[in-house]
Symmetry: C2
Subunit: 307 residues, 2 copies
């Protein structure tokens, strides 16, 4: 049976001021998935990790994504089989479900000689994401598939804009607590003041310009969120202290990854990223919650498929 | 008496989705101002046009801007004299007061051997603008002084980001009606839905990326305003028809200039800008309001001073 092995990276969605529209891919961690065309109808799911994710296709993000693709193939392919070995912990806020969905559709597309465009793949994968988050959003899936920093200008119709960016080092803190995306959404107010909205889009504009100009100082000044962070940061123990210590250690800025609980901080160089890591460790060692803390970079490639 | 002659361009603020943060300078029209250092205390204003603007310094935008500069000079210079010949009609929505304020401070700064930075000049000129609009905003002043497309990421502290842009042709419609900035501000709702705010900052991000990538199609897709246009467009007769006709004629997009009544449409080339002009004329010929209609370009230089 012809098969392809796919590696799908973790991703950071929202990116401080870019709520619901910005995301970037991380070099580490990434999920591994083997995808095969199968004679069995539908999607057969084999989990080779300990996360105990559903094997029923209609309840599995990769399964739903592939069912959407099978629909589009209109009977031409009977089914797919996937063997999933996840490293990205579900619920960590760094695009675990997006990685599963993206890996599945990119792998299947390789086996179909790249029948579908990247934008079509994003569309299939979004159907999978909707199972996990209750909403169709591409801000994890698009950077996972495309790599780099991605602007999702519109989800419907999908409009994905790669944003050139200078090298950035990412210090990630993953407190071992659970925050459900749906709950994190409920905490948001439905209305915001026009004044705050203007501040937010000024910073979004500054961030895009800063990234495209490789202007680290401007990136830093623009990494300000007056809308979502004040509400969601209450869900993460010692969030303000972590941020304060990171900035004092030289981080450009950072915030909650997706809907949390992971927190990311950006630095312009590796040495600073290590100082930020040490500063966060000092804060979190006292909190009494287990946590993972690591340094990675922005992954410019996205999903990799090896036939 | 040493003097300098300054030409200050008209400017378009807001730029559709970029409410309160974006602006660009126009090649035409521009104001002429002669600035002199004077032995007379304060600011002496001589108006050489028919607009009947106040000659009392404290009530004149250029006067207030120069008074702010005199304050900063702390007695070193006694006063300034300005001779103003305006072409940009006050109240037209293309930064008439900003041009006066910018001309005055740039001219004075030339006579002082460029003592002040551009950002400081923006600060002085903003004091002048506040007289006209009741609020300190730099989204006309900054593009007037800097030229090109300008992002004002923050008014306090001032943070001005030039945004590289491809050639753009601007068709401007100026219906001869009066809309006061303060009234145009009152029509705005104080709160907006988070959903609309997200749509707006997605488009702002798309517009910045489109300009910096010279991607005309992306610029066009991003020129969408779901927050301010729906409210303010009601102040301009046949606004929807003008916009519809412009887009049908090939305009990338456009909207209300500042708080109106001028309306601008962007095109990627001159021939299209002429088609857009013809399409707008066809609509406005039937309205029964006097109007000016002209084509210009984005002015990359800003205020020019000739000693």
């Amino acid at each position: 049976m012809k098969e392809v092995t796919v590696y799908a990276p973790a991703t950071v969605a929202n990116v401080v001021c870019g709520f619901d529209i910005l995301g970037f891919a991380l070099s580490e961690p990434s999920d591994k998935m083997v995808v095969r065309i199968s004679d069995k109808k539908g999607v057969t799911i084999i989990n080779k990790d300990d996360f105990d994710l559903p094997t029923e296709a209609s309840q599995n993000v990769a399964g739903v994504a592939l069912l959407a693709m099978l629909d589009a193939l209109n009977g031409e392919v009977k089914g797919f089989e996937i063997e999933s070995t996840k490293t990205i912990k579900p619920g960590s806020g760094i695009g675990s479900s997006a990685a599963s969905a993206a890996a599945a559709v990119v792998g299947a597309n390789e086996l179909l000689n790249k029948r579908f465009s990247n934008d079509e793949l994003v569309g299939f994968a979004m159907c999978g994401e909707a199972v996990a988050s209750g909403a169709k959003h591409a801000d994890n899936i698009a950077p996972c598939i495309y790599g780099g920093v991605i602007l999702v200008r519109s989800n419907d119709p999908i409009d994905i804009i790669p944003i050139p960016a200078p090298p950035l080092y990412v210090t990630v803190l993953h407190p071992q607590i659970e925050i459900k995306t749906s709950e994190a959404r409920q905490i948001l107010k439905k209305k915001v003041t026009l004044k705050d909205a203007i501040t937010q889009w000024a910073n979004v504009a500054g961030l895009i310009a800063g990234l495209m100009k490789s202007d680290y100082a401007l990136i830093g000044r623009s990494l300000t969120d007056v809308i979502v962070e004040p509400m969601r940061s209450t869900l993460i123990p010692q969030y303000d202290e972590v941020k304060k210590a990171s900035l004092a250690a030289g981080a450009l800025g950072g915030g909650i990854s997706g809907s949390g609980p992971s927190v990311f901080m950006l630095s312009s160089d590796e040495a600073t990223a290590h100082r930020v890591e040490a500063a966060i460790k000092q804060v979190y060692d006292k909190v009494g919650i287990d946590f993972h803390l690591y340094i990675t970079t922005i992954n410019p490639y996205g999903v990799k498929a090896i036939v």
